[in-house]
């Protein structure tokens, strides 16, 4: 039993079981919808968490990749007559290529300079998506054709819940493997001290670029899922506020924690739904919650709480 609990995949298995059982408590389709959104954003946050939590690099423009993935799923079937699933892959590939090309110069920057450069990258993508109305429908956005897999038209919040759950668990499993790999160790060394890592022979530029590309692909796939699930997309998906939201999910849940990405996404997706009852006071409460969590649980929710339970301290 002890060996089972301390296995490196134990945490992931617990998450998978929870996701499997959770729908039993859903009284209506609305709950499936919210849960699917949580899982899709958790996948995006997971990608950003690899960059921020593992490698210690900030991105204030990650929603750009959400936008690339989302608009790929919209434009591919609409304008290029490509099947949706292929568009998702092409979008992910495009995100990876963009990350690869801009990553090398951008990742040379440090701290707040990196933050402003990624912010600029995010704005550029959002501006292009807003202004190239011939392809993207402009500020009003465009309709996203439903996902069709082998003649099967994917629809309904419950179906999307399962797709998103599988995607998240698969993504988390890949992330765990990446963390344990030599690349993961190198990235942790870079997080602690870039100079020390490079003295020890870590190719800092290459490793940072690698995790930036991986993180862009995660976020792109999440963006595609979001677009296909909603059936509609607007340039807001790539906006500055979305980027901030992704960072907030990672930091709130806990940097470097996979469960943290899920918890952070859950809070930032569910909280606004609950707060709509407060009407005008919605934003005040959201701001207060954000501030309080960061003041009192400054490591993020999952790491701060698990530090209270000695048995899980290692995980």
């Amino acid at each position: 039993m002890h060996a089972l609990l301390t296995h490196r995949l134990a945490g992931l298995a617990i998450i998978a079981v929870i996701l499997l059982v959770l729908p039993l408590s859903f009284p209506s389709g609305y709950y499936y919808r919210v849960a699917a959104l949580v899982l899709i954003f958790a996948l995006a946050a997971l990608g950003l968490n690899l960059l921020m939590g593992l490698a210690g690099q900030v991105s204030l423009g990650h929603a750009a990749f959400l936008g690339v993935g989302g608009y790929a799923a919209a434009i591919g079937p609409t304008h290029l007559a490509l099947p949706s699933w292929l568009s998702v892959f092409l979008g992910a590939a495009l995100s990876g290529v963009v990350a690869f090309v801009v990553g090398r110069p951008i990742l040379r920057l440090k701290g707040h300079y990196l933050a402003v450069a990624t912010l600029g990258l995010g704005l550029l993508v959002a501006i292009v998506l807003t202004n190239e109305a011939g392809w993207t429908g402009g500020p009003d956005g465009m309709t996203v054709p439903r996902l069709t897999l082998f003649e099967w038209r994917v629809r309904g919040s419950d179906t999307w819940y399962w797709i998103a759950a599988v995607a998240f668990v698969f993504g988390a499993w890949l992330a765990l493997n990446l963390i344990e790999s030599p690349t993961g160790r190198a990235l942790r060394a870079i997080h602690d001290s870039e100079t020390a890592a490079s003295v020890l022979g870590v190719d800092v530029a290459r490793q940072k670029l690698a995790v930036f590309v991986v993180s862009a692909v995660y976020t792109s796939v999440a963006g595609s899922c979001l677009a296909l699930f909603n059936g509609h997309i607007t340039p807001d998906i790539a906006g500055f506020l979305r980027s901030i939201e992704l960072v907030a999910m990672v930091v709130l849940g806990g940097m470097g924690s996979i469960a943290g990405s899920l918890v952070g996404a859950a809070i930032l997706v569910v909280l606004p739904q609950l707060l709509t009852a407060l009407h005008d006071y919605e934003h005040m409460v959201l701001g207060l919650v954000l501030m309080s969590v960061m003041i009192f649980l400054r490591q993020g929710i999952v790491p701060s709480l698990s530090a209270l339970v000695p048995r899980f301290r290692s995980s």
Binding site: H112, G120, L121, I127, S193, I244, V251, L290, I295
Partner: protein
């Protein structure tokens, strides 16, 4: 030529506002290493408070004074209740706190004030001044003069007073500053107050030109941050230069390239500058201790 002058003056006006916001970022960053994303909210509070006090019949100059004092109070409260309790938190956590504060202040403004756009009467009338074919709003000159006065006052404060020397000592080395008897906590609080005041004045001066509403802060914070980074964070000269350059870039690319892509051009230039000079135009190099 007339066209060029026109773009030049509009760039200078917008740039002056960016420069003031960037100065606010710089002051707080120097005293505490915190990037305060609620900086744009100070600008919004200055403008909105003045508008609503003036609407109650209060004379505009008095309303402006009260608005600046109120914004300073908000800045001090932000420091006391959000930044102080989080002392020692990571840089990202502190950024999230200031973003939380900016969401909170925006939400509060939406409740206390409203969601509409508002304006103030210009100080020197609305009749444009003709200069070599270009039309300049008198209020633009007010903004520029105001920004210049603030920069000079700030220079005087930091360079010529004991308090300013304490601020500079704190930004150079916090531990050493404490050792010579400087209360670094009050210095950080003081920098929040001054930043809030600068933001509020900028907001009041620019409202007759650009209008104000509860949500103008986000974009201003973003532009001010970009300007501060372009100049090199921590450098006051860099903040002013970065702000003016950003304003010019926007105005000229809106005029000569495309108004839709003005922000894109501005950020492309910022990216290009950072690739060539990773510490901004006036920033110092960074040495990492292992």
């Amino acid at each position: 030529m007339a066209e060029f002058l026109q773009f030049f003056f509009s760039g200078l006006t917008v740039g002056a506002v960016y420069a003031l916001v960037a100065l606010g970022f710089t002051l707080i960053y120097n005293a505490s290493d915190i990037i305060n994303f609620a900086q744009g909210e100070f600008v919004m509070l200055g403008g909105m408070t003045t508008v609503f006090l003036a609407a109650t019949g209060m004379p505009v100059p008095l309303a402006a004074l009260v608005a600046v004092i109120a914004t300073i109070a908000v800045g001090l409260a932000l420091h006391r209740f959000a930044i102080e309790p989080a002392r020692g938190a990571s840089a990202v956590a502190l950024i999230m706190i200031t973003i939380g504060a900016s969401i909170f202040l925006r939400g509060a403004a939406q409740v206390v004030f409203d969601k509409r756009f508002h304006s103030l009467p210009p100080l020197l009338g609305a009749e444009p001044i003709r200069v070599a074919g270009a039309a300049i709003l008198p209020q633009s000159l007010v903004v520029l003069a105001g920004a210049a006065v603030i920069v000079v006052l700030l220079w005087w404060l930091l360079d010529r007073t004991l308090l300013g020397k304490a601020v500079i000592a704190t930004s150079a080395n916090r531990l050493a500053a404490r050792l010579v008897g400087i209360n670094t906590r009050s210095i950080v609080g003081f920098s929040f107050a001054v930043s809030a005041a600068i933001g509020a004045v900028a907001g009041i001066l620019v409202t007759p030109i650009t209008l104000t509403s509860y949500d103008v802060g986000t974009l201003l914070a973003l532009k001010g941050f970009a300007a501060a980074m372009l100049g090199g964070i921590g450098s006051a000269v860099g903040a002013v230069a970065g702000g003016l350059i950003l304003g010019m870039l926007e105005a000229f690319s809106a005029g000569y390239v495309s108004s839709k892509y003005k922000d894109a051009v501005a950020f492309l230039v910022i990216l290009a500058v950072l690739f060539a000079m990773p510490n901004g135009l006036f920033g110092r190099g960074h040495i990492e201790r292992v």
